[in-house]
Amino acid sequence: MPAAEEALNRIVDDLKKKFGDKVLEVVIEPKKIAKVLVAPECIKEVAQYLKSEWAMDYIKGVTGVDLSRLPDKPQEALEVIYHVGSMSSEDLRGVTFSLSTKVSLSNPVMPSLTGVWRGAEMHEREVYEMLGVNFEGHPDMRRLLLPEFWSDKPPLRKDYAVPGRER
């Protein structure tokens, strides 16, 4: 899909030009992923820009990743990735853009993007319970899938070991 790759390149270039140093890292690999990493303070601004300028109005998912056990460069951080697409722009059909940010493992707080993408509500609730990221400004920050009596660590963190299983 060369058209989609081209569109993603244009978005990434535009973000680099518009936000300069705030864009911390870019991962762009054809057919795999197009990801832009920004600081948590400005993620809301970037998301708002993506929605208004690039018609990225459709949320596909929110992923949380614990980076503390990466073999090559472990970091005491959690990465939160928003996978978004567009339904109103015909050129961007089938394109998935990933906007991500890193929060520290000890104090994982970041602004909620439910104000930008309303559909992120359940996704953020899932990241909250599974990785313990606190989304500020979320309308309904409760647990979703885990049992009410769950009192262990957030289970998708790497330091939580599944009882009875060995890696």
Binding site: K32, S88, R93, T96, G119, L144, L145
Partner: protein
Amino acid sequence: MVAEEVKSVEVYEVGPTLTFSMGPQHPGTGHFRMVITVLGDTVVRCDPDPGFVHRGEEKMCEYKTWITNIPHLERPAILDAAGMVYPYVLAVERLMGVEPPERAKYLRVIMAELQRICSHLYWLGLMGVFAGHATMYMWCFGDREYLVDLTQLIGGQRITHSYFVPGGVRNDAPAKVPKELVKEFRRYYRMMLGRDYGGEVPEDFRRYALAVCEFFDTRLDEYYRMLLDSSIFIYRTKGVGVLRREDAVSLGVVGPVLRGSGVRSDTRIDEPYDAYPYIKFNVPTMDGCDSYSRMMVGYYEMKESVRIIEQAIEQMPDGPVKLKQHPVSIRVPAGEVFASAEAARGQCSFYIRSDGTDRPYRVKICSPSFRNLIALPHLIRDVRVADIPIIYWSLNYWPVECDR
């Protein structure tokens, strides 16, 4: 076990409303609970409470190897195992930088479409039950049997077949169909359509599959006359649970729910994968935005799936069905990938991060039911209590797929 100590008790002012649980043992909802607040017969609030069948698939993925992940990743939606595991297989292939052989691409498409029909038949059949039309359930399940038989012939199992592997499919389709099955199909054909099958039912697999497709297409027309065109069904579903186009997009719903709100979006067209670029088919959409539109989209999708299977069977080339690689331990380079495929309930996406070892570092499943979940509290508001099952089931919500 130590009993949990009650630390505090909260008392709510309830006023004239009444709050109660719908589920998790409700006969229709499956293992899923909705906390419903009603004022008289009108629902004022619906709070979905998923998680009763949460099994930690994503955590489990980090413990199992790339290949041994496949069987358990099918479990969230056993009726649609192919649709669930399809994006995983695509994602792993993209990380590895390999393409499956041509024949495998067609076999995958046939399997995915067969399972889409099986899943939609379950949807339509249960919708009949919800709308007080139990015959539809019997019809759907009777006809589904012959499609499930095809799945079994190709993949070896009726539902969870673990047929897809990165780099192709596990085995080729057989050349011949067992005699008993042919005989049974002939009997069923006469029973349901009231006439004999013209000529001998073929024992050749390709021609037998085409015969089943043709039979099922005829049956679909009867479904329309029996349920979808019946005034009772229309009365129960039309104008019920209206999800406007802009809400559908901003809430991020997928599949027949999105297309029932007039958005023409389908992963098979938007980002075509495997053999879909070579196959002609329509993406049905409806503008009614209500439960009726969603059901009709599902119905027309079954018609399109039959067309896709017929074309795929005719176009399928000969050749190998799998790349030469180690059957259990495959090497996946480090990297990140986000891949999507159109499952029966809508777009299913996987985010996979690999660290170059024999297991995934992180697997995130963006399942269609989870993405449709947010539409529930939006739709079940200011409606009659009796409409809750219709709205709920028109989303084709599958609790296991949502909870993973």
